[in-house]
């Protein structure tokens, strides 16, 4: 079977011109880093600001009379609580309570927008379609229509304001507005995957380059840095945010994944609810938690974890060197009894055991702007 050619975002040429190190990420050619390097990019985002091309993400729109009822049936969080202009973190589960994807849900004027992981666009679309029943609604995959630029870091608000987003200071975390800046229509949300103050801007593909250049221009004096997927991965891990495929999969349920806060079984019925209630009743056997290396070693995904008594207790799901903490950190699943903070665990790296300590997420304090 012929391998399909990887796709390019509208900003691809900008990345090659900036001498980015490009990789094939789930069928998309994207920068893993620019010449500054992954560690510098991750550090700079939290010092000044970083700009990211996230156009590979999926956008699925749900429209029609029964959209709310449909989403309530599919997702774990209570979508009926959402006001227009609000963004909510959600998961879709299978009947076994396993996570199909995690995504952000946007409540627009006449529709809902689900921003899903690039690796799962087709899966989520098919899951939605399969479960629509007789409900009156339209499900549209609009991923190819949108480019997505993220601006994250303490100076991101200032840069956006100078780029023409005049009311940006009134926008609060997990909310969005639709409007025009410099004549370009876009959706601006105060959201991100870094835990720092930041924004995600959805724009039509034909305006992506213009907007990218505008941000870089205005961001120059604020030391805005180009950032790739490598830095993005470090930043989200520093906050303990899960990465689908690593930390959460169809084999993990939200409760053991420490995502129970986004599950509302008391509010409504949804696919996977029965299984999740069972888990809540019986208790979890393993838990997703964070850890910091005490011995110097790089905990990579898949490495085994042993408890103090040298018994296999779990494995690393994500690991990185955090330039903001100057330590090796990671996320893992371990047996529930070993998931208590300060528990001593050992990561097996090339047949030797290296000591680590369990810590709760986040590793760094979030700086998202919750109030105007």
């Amino acid at each position: 079977m012929e391998k399909t050619m990887p796709k390019k975002t509208s900003l691809y040429q900008k990345h090659t011109e900036a001498q980015a190190n490009i990789i094939d990420f789930h069928g998309w050619l994207l920068p893993v880093n620019y010449p500054a390097g992954i560690l510098n990019e991750a550090k700079q985002t939290r010092t000044t600001a970083g700009i990211f091309d996230l156009s590979h993400m999926g956008e699925i729109e749900i429209k029609g009379q029964d959209s709310l009822a449909f989403l309530q049936k599919i997702v774990t969080n209570d979508v009926s609580c959402m006001e227009k202009g609000e963004v909510q973190y959600n998961m879709a589960c299978n009947p076994e309570g396993g996570i199909i994807d995690d995504f952000m849900t946007y409540r627009k004027e006449d529709s809902f927008l689900c921003v899903v992981n690039a690796s799962n666009i087709k899966n989520v679309y098919h899951w939605f379609d399969k479960n629509r029943g007789n409900l009156s609604l339209e499900i549209e995959d609009k991923s190819d229509d949108f480019s997505l630029i993220a601006l994250q870091g303490p100076l991101s608000e200032k840069i956006l304001k100078e780029a023409g987003f005049k009311t940006v200071q009134d926008l609060v975390y997990m909310h969005f507005i639709e409007g025009k800046a410099d004549g370009i229509s876009c959706l601006l949300s105060r959201t991100g995957y870094t835990g720092d103050d930041g924004f995600e801007i959805y724009v039509e593909n034909k305006h992506a380059c213009e907007l990218w250049d505008l941000f870089l221009e205005r961001g120059k004096k604020h030391d805005l840095h180009l950032c790739g997927l490598g830095a993005r991965d470090i930043l989200r891990l520093e906050m303990g945010y899960p990465l689908y495929g690593n930390d959460i999969t169809s084999e993990t349920n939200p409760i053991e994944a420490s995502l129970g806060w986004a599950v509302k079984p008391e509010a409504k019925d949804f696919i996977g609810k029965e299984k999740i209630l069972e888990v809540l009743k019986e208790g979890i056997k393993r838990k997703r938690t964070g850890f910091i290396m005490k011995d110097r070693g790089f905990p990579r995904t898949g490495y085994e974890i042993y408890s103090g008594e040298s018994q296999l207790t779990g494995n690393v799901t994500s690991g990185a060197f955090s330039p903001n903490l100057e330590k090796f950190i990671g996320a893992c699943y371990v047996k529930k009894e070993h998931s208590v903070p300060r528990t001593k665990i050992f990561v097996k790296i090339r047949d030797k055991l290296y000591e680590a300590e369990v810590v709760n997420f986040p590793f760094l304090k979030p700086r998202t702007k919750k109030e105007a």
Binding site: V32, I38, L39, G230, R296, F298, F321, F328, R350
Partner: protein
């Protein structure tokens, strides 16, 4: 352009021969390919190493790689700076980023290594 006066392995390590001693590190090409280096695992003084065999590991944000010795012999010293500052390998791969010093057991092993010109040719080939 590869540095003159050094010998190279096909696995992108360099060796600087000074009498009986060889100082060893990785080339600029290697550090560039690896990206940000976060960890270097080196042998201790007194350990034995063999030509073309692994003497340690180098880890970048992306992956872990073995380090292969250009010469056989006994390790005299491992660079202590790399423990706390592995980024030296990215910043200064031929000087401050040196990794180990070996007391060579056989200088003739040099014939198995590449000179600067041959290493440059290897790099050009690898680009295709």
């Amino acid at each position: 352009m590869a540095k003159e006066g050094l010998l190279f392995t096909k696995t992108h390590e360099w060796a600087k021969v000074e009498g009986d001693t060889a100082i060893v590190g990785i080339t600029d090409h290697a550090q560039h390919q690896l990206g940000d280096i976060v960890f270097v695992e080196l042998p201790k003084a007194g350990d034995n190493v063999k030509q073309s065999e692994s003497f340690g590991t180098i880890e970048s944000t992306k992956a872990a790689s073995d380090l292969y010795s250009p010469f056989s012999g006994q390790v005299l010293e491992a660079n202590p700076e790399l423990l706390s500052n592995p980024a030296l390998v990215n910043q200064d791969p031929y000087e401050k980023g040196w990794m180990i010093k070996i007391k060579m057991s056989s200088r003739e092993e040099a014939k198995n290594l590449l000179d600067a010109t041959a290493y440059d040719s290897l790099l050009k080939e690898e680009q295709h």
